[in-house]
Structures are given as C-alpha cells and as structure tokens.
C-alpha cells in the first residue's frame, strides 16, 4: 500500500446472469469466478478440485463456451450469461444426460459430476452423436478419481445414440 500512487481499485460491481437469474454483487477484484459462484451466490453445485485448472470440477458454460471457472476472475465475467449444473434440469425433470449418468452408474462420489455434466452438455450441443474417441477427448479436462471413466463414456455415448 504505497503512499502517493493512484488509488488501487480493489473491488468492482459485477452483474452476471446465472441459470436465468441476474445477480449484481460487489466483488473483490482478485476473487475467482468459481469462488464468486460458490461463496457469494451460494451456487455450490460447481466444485473446486485442484486450483490449477487441471481437474475441471468447476466447469461451467459462459456465453455458450465451456470454461473452467477457477481460471477466470469474477470481474472478467461481468455481463456474462452463465450456465451451471443447477440449471440443467427443468424443474423436477432431469436432462437425458443426467438420467443417463444415473442409469449407467457414471458417478460414485459425485464430486466431479457437475463439471463432467457441463463438459458433456457442451459436447452434445456441438456434436449430437459423438464417437467414443470424441467423447474421451471432450472430457479429458475433467478428472474423475472414482469411475475410471468407463461408465461416464458409456453414459454420454448412450445419449448421443438415442438423441
């Protein structure tokens, strides 16, 4: 905090629309988007697994693009439209992908699942009938320590085959 320098901006008002609801909050300039979602907006479905952008547990869709929300500051998301796992289901009606994850036992502890679902959702939007190789490539940025990916790949493939 050196004296005599221009005043440092330490926080900023940010407006984001998450799953259809617009939030306006004063946020620390250094706060990561994932911590903004989890700690400030209480949208705790997206998770933190690594702090280095490797694990994908924090994956969300921002303005139509899949991102890792630990790799972006909250202030950078000002004005953005964000989709998180909480916004996938229509009320009580789960998406085909969510149903398929359960039917195929594609989740155990469920910690990677929100990020995995967002990656798979983004994939299926751009490629409705992905091959196994395309699926594995699309989720390579999401680490799962429980399933060995076997049933995750099957779950996504099954949605692609039946859509």
């Amino acid at each position: 905090m050196e004296a005599g320098t221009a005043e440092v901006v330490r926080s900023k008002t940010v407006s984001v629309t998450v799953n259809g609801t617009t939030y306006e909050r004063e946020v620390d300039a250094r706060r990561l988007l994932i911590h903004f979602l989890r700690d400030d907006l209480d949208l705790t479905g997206s998770h933190v697994g690594c702090d280095t952008g490797n694990c994908g547990a924090c994956s969300v869709i921002l303005d139509g693009t899949l991102i890792k929300s630990c790799m972006m500051l909250a202030v950078q998301a000002d004005g953005a439209t964000i989709e998180t796992v909480e916004g996938l289901a229509e009320g009580e009606e789960l998406t085909e992908l969510q149903k398929s994850f359960s039917a195929h036992h594609a989740l155990q502890c469920g910690y990677c699942t929100p990020g995995m679902l967002m990656s798979a959702t983004a994939l299926l939007r751009s490629n409705a009938h992905p091959t196994e190789a395309e699926i594995r490539k699309a989720i390579q940025g999401n680490i799962c320590r429980c399933t060995g990916y076997v049933n995750i790949v099957e779950a996504i493939k099954s949605v692609g085959e039946t859509s």
């Binding site: 998180t84 036992h105 502890c109 469920g110 910690y111």
Partner: protein, 825 residues
C-alpha cells in the same frame, strides 16, 4: 472360531441373470438424483454467519528448528480474526497418542509443529480471516525464523549412524521393528532345488488423491463445550479417539457430521491434526471456522500411501515350479510422523502368502520416519505393497527359471477345494477360485492369440508383453492385529451399527454408522431392508452420511478397509430383522393372532392365512408412536431398532503373531497387454481384463464401478503417479500439473468378469471389496517385464514405471539384472 462350511461351487455370473429379491439387483442409486443436480452437500458447501477461513502457514524446509514465530503483522491486517501457533498448541493440547511401542511411542505429534518442522509443508501456524484470499495473504505476513537441518529422504539409510534424527525424544528414526517367522524357512531353503535371490524391490509413494480436498467447518458451542465438525473425515470413530484426549475432553464433545464426501480412499483418515487446530481456533475466536485444503497442500502435507523397500529377498523353489515360501527384509517409509501407519507394519500380514500355498515365510519388518509427508492408509493399504512383492516374486522366479507365468501361478495358487484355507499365520481365507478367475481373465484378453499378436507388434517395431496380477482384497479387520504391534493397545475385533425405525406415517428410516464417499451405501442398505420388510427400496429413507448425534455408531465406525458389505450391511440386516420381528408382534396383538401367523409383504403386515387381515406399515407406525393406549404393558416393541454387528473374531496369539486378521478375502485377477516403443520407452496398454470375486454382490453395478475405479487408480500408480522428493526434501509433484492422474484418454478399454464365491462367514454371503485394484500395478509390471524380455531380460524392480524408467531398462538391462541371482542345487 467360526464354524467352517464346505464352500459351494462359485457361481459364474452372466449379465441379466434373474435374482430373487432386491439384493443382487441394479436398482437406481438413491444418491444420484441430488448429485447430478449439484444438490449434494459437501462440507465446503456449508456456511455460517461471519465464519472465518483458516489458512495454514507451512514450513518451506523439510527439516528445521523453529526459532521463533511472530504473528503480529498478520494480526494487524483488517479482516484477520486471529492466529494459532505451535507454542499455543503445546500448552492447550497433549500430543496425539502413538500406536507403536518404543521408539515410535516416544515420538511427539501435535496439531502444529512444535519446536521443529519435519517435512516441507508441515503446518507451523494458522491464520483466520474473513475470506479465503485474505487468510492466505495474511499468512504470508507471519514471520517464522528457521534453522535448517539436514533432511533425511531415503528410508534405507535412516538407521545409519550419521543419519539425521527426526524425533530427538525417540533417539532413533525407527518407529517399530519386528520379525515374522512362520513355518520353517531354513528347512524350505534346504529342501529347494533352486533359491532365487532378489536384491531390492521398491514400492513407490503415491496416493489416490481424492478430487475433493480435506477440510471441515467447525463450530464451538461455548455453553456446552462441544465442537460440531461438518467435515469429510472418513473414520470418525478413530478420529475422535485421537482428538478427544489431545483436546483433553470426552468423546461426546466431538460431533462429527458428514453428508457427501468427494472421494477419500483412506486419505481422509488422518485429518486429526488439522481438525484439532481448527477446534482450538473456533474456541479461541468464538467463531465458526472453516478450512479447505488447497490441492498443493493435499499433495505435500495430507497423507501419501506408504512407500516400502523390499531387500534381500530369497525364494526357495522346487524343480517343478512349486515355491516353498520366501524371506525378505521390508522397510516402510512412513514420512515424518507415524500416525496410523504403525498398523501398516502388521496389516500386510492379512495376506501373508498372497494367493499362494506358500508355508514358510520370514519377514523382518522395520518402519522408519523420513522428512517427507506423513502417510496414511491408501486404497489397498499395506496389503497392496505386500501383494506386489508376491507377484514380483512369481514373475521374476518364472522368468529366471524359464517357467510359464500362468502355469506357475496355477501350480502355487490355493486350490478351490482347499477353502476355507488357513494361511501359515492363521488367517482363514474364506472362499474363492483363483485359477477359475485367471482362466476368465485370460479368455477376456484372448490369451491363445498372444503369440500371434506379439509377432504382429514386432512387425510394427513394437514389443508386446502380457502380465497377470493376482490379489486379495482382505476386508473386515480384526483390530486385534494392532496388539501384535503393541500388546498394550486395547483394540480387538470390529463392529458397526445401524438403526432402522418405523415412524408415525409409516416411514422406514435407516441410519448408518458408516461414512460413505461414493460407495452407494444408501442404496444397498435400502435393498437389504426392503427384502426383510417386504417393501420396495423406494419406501426406505436411508439418511445420507454420518452424524455422531444419531447414536448409530461404535468404536470402529467408518468407511475403510473393504468392509461395508459385511459390517455395514450386517448391522443393517440385524436392525431390520429386529424391526421385522417387532412389527409382526405388534400386528399379532392388533389382529389377535400369533406373531408366527404374520408376514410382511407389499408394505403391509398381514395374516399369512388371510391376507385380507392386514395392517399397512402406516397403521403400525401410528399405533405404537401416537395411539398406544391399551397396548399390553409387556409388549416390548419400540419400532426403533439398533443393532451392533460384531464379526466372529478371536484375539491373535501375540507370541506367534498368529490368528485370523480379517473376515473376508475377495479375489481380483487382472491381465494386461502392453505395447512398448523400444526407441523411447513409451508404452500403451492395449488390452485389459479385470476379474473380481467378492462373493454375493448386493448391487452388481456398484461392484463393477468399484472395480473400474480401483483399476484406474492402479494403472495411474503403475504408469505415472509418483511422489518423488529431491535431496532437500521438496516434493516434485505438488499439484495435478506434475502429478499426472489418468484422464479419459489415458484409460485403456477394460473388460470385466465376475464370479461369486459366497463367504460362509458373513451375514449376506458378501465380502468387502473396492480396494483390489492393486492388481493393476502387478499386471503392468509383469507385462512390461514380458515385453522387454527380448531386450536383455531386464527385471522390473519398481512399482511405478513411467516411460523414462522403461527407457532406462531398455538401455541398461544388465543394471536391473545385477540384483537377481539363482542358486541351484
């Protein structure tokens, strides 16, 4: 000892085979609906008004004397609520109790470093602030003056005269040592036609690195002196035994609450130092505090799987390939503090001869401290290291004596008709058919075509190899084994608790003492209860997670050591049987008949002879709980039943280190095919089969999921996952950039097979499972050795074989061979 039962022929299970009842069916998991919607509750999701975030100040040195700690600058920062130092911890708490006899018993372990830091990353002080970011920044203002000391990073030299000593109070780096000697090794060596000698093998350091890091939110109730911990501790029973005496309070002052846990794999058993620090902070600041471990902290300073050196191995072998046993000197590297790890000195003995009929075994076992991260149980705990040794022995002996790896296994495996089989140290292998499992695995990889595939690979400039990994997943501990470690420890047997109640509106509510982390306990418990009460799993509410307030736990409650299907479901079955009896009794009073005339079916208690005379569960619940005037005084019905399952165990013979150490022994036989690029050492797993036998499977899909996951962890450990340290004691892989866990593109196609050899000793015929993936490490080591055979017959001596190590084996096969010798008669 349990009555022995001749084992029925194991069942080979075909997919889609019809099952009687709910147990055995793939019902939808109860946990999934919330988890696929982001509605699970993990500890880090919970918030409290004005809570403080904890950040630990950690030692940058592997070994250093702490000369001073000054927190004043951190405390000056607005938004910082308070701090904690080692000096305060030393005054406010007692050291955690140590499991070992001396010298280990003299080592002092506190919540924060006191006087000395013993590994890089060890917490030295803690700062609490209004945000995660502020706590982290302020912790950098804590000034610690260190006097660096020489670090010890190699367990093999820990006992040498000039080795630095970590724990001055103990006067030695040795935690525990002991000799295990069963049968007559010397006679076996004299009888053998060959003795194969192997100088040194190394089981590497890694961990299952759960995706959710450790942590807690702790509230202190000043009025009652009680702490509530919303957390992801996977073994609260033992956690409380460590924490309460250290905090100088009774067990009931510690309430553990978990709901969803993002994987644990054993790595969330030794969280007590962090939790004690947070308890002290919550009390000192009179404020809820929350601590979430950063990924780097989990890698550097939570818990690794144990690293083990095997030296001077000797294996007596008969001319026909029959092996008579082995002897070995094992050194376990437990890192800076022993914590749970002294038990690792004994736990391997659950599977002393592996899958084999070896009768003469001598193991000199020593555990030492080093200036590295402490270790803890890690999926496959202690048995995995030992089973890797048995499999390396098989494949090295086979290679040196020109024996076929399949034939030599079958010759030495315990045979199907020998179960229940007593091992040389008194463990009772309950059931199994290892040779059958191996045949299935070989069929899945089309073993007869391997030589053709080998030639095809050669034509493409690749070296193809096939390897087998045979393991046992011993489950349901007899804690009496801890007395082999330390006769003064008053632990033996095992237990688990469940309660099942029928409430006013007919709700069936189940509480578990276990602490699930993705194993689907809510689902499988509901299947067992539904079969007993004659209703659907959908009718049953199994409370998610664990809460000490539910009074549904006992001393060994938790989820660890492959036991839920036995202890957890044994307790659930016991409680449901009790409730069923009470429901029949109540119905018989209301309907005016004998309890024997009542059956439970379709959500009703009804007369067998006249199903029209029926009471829905709701009526029973309402009558007893809310409309009970006039019921007989001596009815003896509560509709709220608590059952403690206690497996049949005896205390082991401490002198001989002899006795049954676990109740069940599930089997995993894996087979791997690899292709190696001889110019670079890069290899690919091109085919993989995992065959599992865990007795009766309550939910086959969950079992298969456990097999997939355990195998993936094993393949990660076999190929890339390692925690290496530099000479100064710095961990070189402190995050997921450097520590490469398998991604979707890394995983080979996996084929699975199952047989069910029901356990004669368990309530449901099921065996604990989930940890057997170590087979993958053994299979990859064997496959690489097979692939490289044509290039100077190098010997695979390390459990982890990244490409550079394979390249080194290709470059200098003689270097690896130097430690192997065959002495023939």
């Amino acid at each position: 000892m349990t009555e022995t039962v001749a084992p029925p022929q194991p069942k080979v299970v075909e997919p889609g085979q019809p099952q009687k009842g709910w147990a055995g069916q793939n019902v939808p998991r109860k946990e999934d609906k919330r988890l696929v919607q982001g509605e699970g509750v993990f500890f880090d999701d919970i918030k409290r008004h004005e809570m403080g975030y904890v950040h630990f100040v950690r030692s940058p040195y592997a070994h250093a004397r702490i000369k001073s700690v000054d927190v004043s600058k951190a405390l000056d920062v607005p938004g910082v609520y308070g701090t904690l130092t080692g000096d305060e911890v030393a005054i406010l708490t007692d050291p955690f109790f140590e499991l070992s006899v001396p010298p280990g018993a003299h080592m002092k372990d506190y919540a924060l470093a006191v006087g000395k830091a013993r590994f890089a990353g060890e917490p030295v002080a803690a700062v609490v602030a209004s945000s995660r970011e502020l706590a982290r920044d302020a912790s950098e203002l804590v000034e610690v003056e260190y006097e660096p000391l020489e670090p010890l990073v190699d367990a093999r030299v820990a006992q040498e005269g000039d080795a630095p000593i970590l724990h001055d109070e103990a006067g030695s780096n040795v935690v525990w040592d002991g000799t295990f000697d069963w049968g007559d090794y010397d006679a076996a060596a004299a009888e053998a036609d060959h003795v194969v000698k192997i100088k040194e093998l190394h089981f590497d350091r890694f961990s299952s690195t759960p995706l959710e890091c450790s942590g807690c939110l702790i509230e202190y109730n000043k009025g009652t002196g009680q702490w509530t911990m919303y957390c992801n501790h996977q073994m609260p029973g033992v956690g409380a035994i460590w924490m309460a005496p250290a905090l100088r309070v009774g067990l009931d002052k510690l309430r553990f609450v978990t709901q969803d846990i993002g994987g644990a794999f054993g790595n969330k058993i030794c969280l007590h130092p962090y939790f004690v620090a947070c308890c002290l902070l919550a009390r000192k600041l009179n404020r809820a505090v929350q601590w979430t471990e950063w990924r780097t902290d989990q890698h550097t300073a939570n818990a690794h799987g144990n690293e083990r050196w095997f030296q001077d191995i000797e294996v007596p072998v008969k001319a026909d390939g029959t092996m008579l046993g082995f002897k070995v000197r094992a050194t376990d590297d437990c890192g800076a503090f022993p914590r749970y790890e002294p038990l690792g000195c004994i736990i391997w003995a659950q599977v002393t001869p592996g899958c084999y009929r070896w009768r003469n075994i001598r193991v000199d076992f020593t555990q030492v401290t080093t200036n590295k991260s402490p270790v803890s149980p890690n999926r496959g705990y202690s048995r995995m290291q030992h089973l890797w040794l048995t499999e390396r022995i098989i494949d090295i002996v086979a290679s040196e004596l020109g024996l076929d790896p399949v034939e030599v296994r079958k010759r030495n495996y315990v045979k199907h008709d020998e179960f229940p089989y007593e091992t040389p140290n008194g463990c009772i292998y309950d059931s199994g058919d290892y040779a059958r499992c191996l045949d299935i695995a070989l069929e899945l990889i089309d073993y007869p075509s391997i030589e053709q595939k080998r030639r095809d690979a050669e034509s493409r400039g690749r070296l193809l190899g096939v390897g087998i990994g045979s393991t046992l997943d011993s489950g349901t501990n007899n804690f009496g084994q801890s007395m082999i470690l330390n006769p003064d420890l008053q632990f033996s047997g095992n237990n688990e608790v469940a309660t099942v109640k029928l409430d006013i509106f007919g709700e069936i509510v189940v509480t578990l003492g276990t602490v699930p982390q993705g194993q689907g306990h809510e689902t499988t418990a509901s299947q067992v209860v539904a079969d007993i009460l004659g209703c659907s799993p959908d009718d049953i509410n199994v409370r998610p997670g664990h809460d000490s307030y539910w009074n549904s736990h006992a001393g060994f409650s938790g989820t660890y050591a492959s036991q839920f299907a036995v202890t957890g479901l044994g307790a659930v079955k016991g409680a449901a049987d009790m409730l069923a009896g009470e429901m029949k009794k109540l119905a018989s009073v209301v309907l005016g008949c004998s309890a024997d005339d009542i059956e439970l079916a379709e959500g009703q208690a009804r007369m067998k002879a006249n199903p029209e005379a029926a009471l829905p569960f709701m009526a029973l619940g309402a009558i007893l709980n809310a409309n009970n005037a006039g019921l007989p005084e001596d009815l003896g019905v509560t509709l709220n039943c608590r059952y403690v399952y206690r497996p049949p165990f005896e205390k082991p013979d401490l002198e001989r280190k002899y006795g049954n150490l676990t109740l069940t022994y599930a089997t995993q036989i894996h087979a791997a095919v690899v292709e190696v690029d001889p110019d670079t050492g890069v290899y690919e797993i091109v085919d993989y089969a995992a065959v599992d036998d865990c007795g009766k499977r309550i939910h086959p899909q969950i079992v298969e999921g456990q097999v997939h996951g355990a195998t993936a962890q094993a393949l990660g450990a076999a190929t890339h996952e390692t925690f290496p340290y530099d000479a100064d004691g710095n961990l070189l892989t402190p995050n997921f950039y450097d520590y490469h866990v398998p991604h979707a593109l890394d995983m080979p196609p996996m084929k699975n097979g199952f047989i069910e050899s029901e356990s004669p000793f368990t309530p449901l015929g099921a065996k604990g499972m989930g940890e057997g993936g170590g087979a993958g490490i053994h299979a990859i080591c064997a496959a690489l050795q097979d692939a490289l055979r044509a290039r100077g017959k190098p010997v695979v001596t390390d459990s982890c074989n990244p490409y550079h190590r394979v390249w080194a084996l290709l470059q200098e096969p003689e270097a690896s061979r130097a430690g192997v010798e065959v002495v023939s008669r």
